[in-house]
């Protein structure tokens, strides 16, 4: 069953096309990652999805119904964790969660249980009487999440929730998102941190300049590019003849060499590292450390766009 369907979405700011004929389908129960560099159109897409932004063209459906400003029956099942922390400085942690949860749940007893759940879930129980200004950046992010998920929505949108968060809080947040998904929530997760998206998401769409340039599971996406393995060998003065020999090894399609290392790219094949090391030993070439790396989403992005995700 489809939770979110976006069809040929276009958002223009005058001459600038922020979202360019974007189509997406997110199934119920997925953790869907929207990955792209800053300014690629992720947040604009999310804002259109939530009717926070009027879009130029296209259709958006959530739970099979068209989404609009007044789709209150849809909105009650959506939770949003904004990119920026959106809480009231004048209210305590508990009061903030109660305030935002109160927008969804009117029954006081039910709301109380939801707040306790959110406090427990985000590990903020001991800080519930604190004002936001007294919280660290990581705790503040967790409060931001608690305010977005307290009403137990079935679709939760996380817009870059780990920006400027310490590693401990980041792990806690990512674990929390997995748990929310296990409890049945569909998750949309936007980020420019490819490691997070790889670790968390069941399906990924990579965006650039308002377009989706790749979509699928991380394995499917990685198969879209030529590179399957990169081997780096620390060595000093590797002769040109040896470089030519290495290029002749099976599945090698590229080799770069400088005074300190050689970087060999492979297209498919197994035991590539073994073959390279055998060659080095057989010809008595000395070498230092050796690394074998599988392609990352950044490699995918680099190969498709010619730039890195952090550019």
């Amino acid at each position: 069953m489809v939770a979110v369907k976006i069809d040929k979405l276009v958002k223009r700011y005058g001459e600038l096309i922020a979202v360019d004929h974007l189509s997406l389908s997110i199934k119920k129960g997925e953790i869907f990652g929207l990955l792209g560099p800053n300014g690629s159109g992720k947040t604009t897409t999310i804002n259109c999805l939530l009717s926070l932004l009027a879009y130029t063209k296209g259709d958006i459906e959530i739970f099979g119904k068209p989404m609009s400003d007044s789709s209150y029956d849809i909105k009650k099942d959506i939770g949003v964790v904004m990119q920026n922390v959106a809480v009231f400085d004048e209210l305590t942690v508990y009061e903030n969660i109660d305030y935002f949860c109160g927008l969804y749940i009117k029954d006081k007893e039910e709301r109380k249980k939801c707040i306790e759940y959110a406090l427990d879930f985000t590990g903020l129980s001991e800080f519930k009487k604190y004002y936001p200004k007294k919280l660290s950046g990581g705790l503040l992010r967790r409060l931001n999440i608690a305010c977005g998920i307290a009403h137990k929505p079935s679709l939760i949108i996380f817009d870059e929730p780990t920006v400027a968060v310490d590693p401990q809080s980041r792990n806690k947040i990512l674990e929390g998102i997995k748990e929310l998904n296990k409890n049945g929530a569909t998750i949309i997760y936007t980020s420019h941190y490819m490691e997070e998206v790889e670790q968390l998401c069941t399906r990924i769409a990579i965006m650039d300049k308002g377009k989706i340039i790749a979509t699928g599971t991380k394995e499917e996406i990685k198969k879209m590019i030529k590179n399957t393995e990169t081997i780096t060998i620390e060595t000093i003065s590797f002769p040109k003849e040896a470089q030519a020999d290495i290029r002749q090894l099976p599945h090698v399609y590229a080799l770069e060499c400088d005074d300190e290392k050689i970087v060999i790219s492979f297209e498919g094949g197994n035991h590539n590292l073994l073959r390279v090391l055998e060659y080095m030993q057989k010809n008595n070439y000395s070498f230092g450390r050796v690394y074998s790396e599988l392609p990352t989403l950044n490699d995918v992005f680099l190969e498709i766009t010619g730039k890195t995700l952090r550019d």
Partner: protein, 372 residues
Amino acid sequence: MKYELLKILRKKQDLFWILAFPIILSTLFKIAFGNLYENTEVFTKIPIAVVSDESMDSVIFQNVVESLSQGDNAMFDTTFTDNESAEKMLFENDIDAIIYSDIDGIKMSVTKKNGGNQSIVKSFTDSFIAGKSVIESGKTDISEFVKNMNSEISYNKEVTANRKENDPYVTYFYNIIAMICIFASTLGLAVINESTAAFSDKGARISVSPVKRSSVILKGLISALIVNYACMLVVLMYILFVLKVSFGDDIHMVLFASFIGTVMGTGFGVFIGSVLKVSRGIKEALCTGISLIMCFMSGLMLANIPMIIYEKCPVLNKLNPVAMLCDCFYSLTVFESYERFFENIIKMSVTTLIFVLLSLIFSARRNKRADF
């Protein structure tokens, strides 16, 4: 609603402007006007000089003037002197009028500074001339004549100046109340900022919830009104019962006008918040700045500013919401009738309506992040 109230009550900066600052200012005013209050008691008597000869008419006149210059409710503060001294006093504005009484009759010389008092003196001399023959004929004695004269002139005093007996510095305190009312704008502005997606992430969070934004805004504005009006009441009570400044008998009208003023102030904040496409910080600075300028123009810091504006550019007074409210209060201190008071109430209501209508038009466009 509980949290809407808490949000406002915990904003120390806003509470400073609507509660602490007015209390400090009113205390300073009271200290500054302390001595003037005492002097005001003396100045309620009209200072005059009498220059007279020893004719029969002059003796009767002197007796009458002396009678009117005695006791707690004396009408005149009279100096009997010679012509030269009297003219010097008049020139130096120590007196409002010289009355000459001699064999040829009663004459008057006046300054220009206090038309009301001179009218009363003129009324007195006219009445004396008219009643002198009655005394001379023995039909009445001087004390009876003075009694009649007192009531007649007191009546004339009211009719001539159309004034109520009141504290001459009370308008400063009324201006403080008006200032609190217009500072409701900062609270109204905060409500709009925090509930509009185009202006804040909190607004965006509210916009994606299944609650109508209008109901969130309405709750916020009602809370803002309650807090601002409550602060106004606290300051009013402080002025009335601690500083012991009298607001006269029309306190219910003051409360009514303050309520309308608070609604107008909140509306002004909503207007600034909805119409301007600038950052939140700039809006807050503009709101506070414009409110203070409007207070200044309506005489909060210098009482004669409204008069200067009235002479140079009267339209500014008519457009200034604080001036409308101050004029509303002023009319209570000056006029017997409530005509001008309600005229201002209507003006304020119309101004509020314009603020609200314009805000509604712009607010509908601002609920999208595109305008952020």
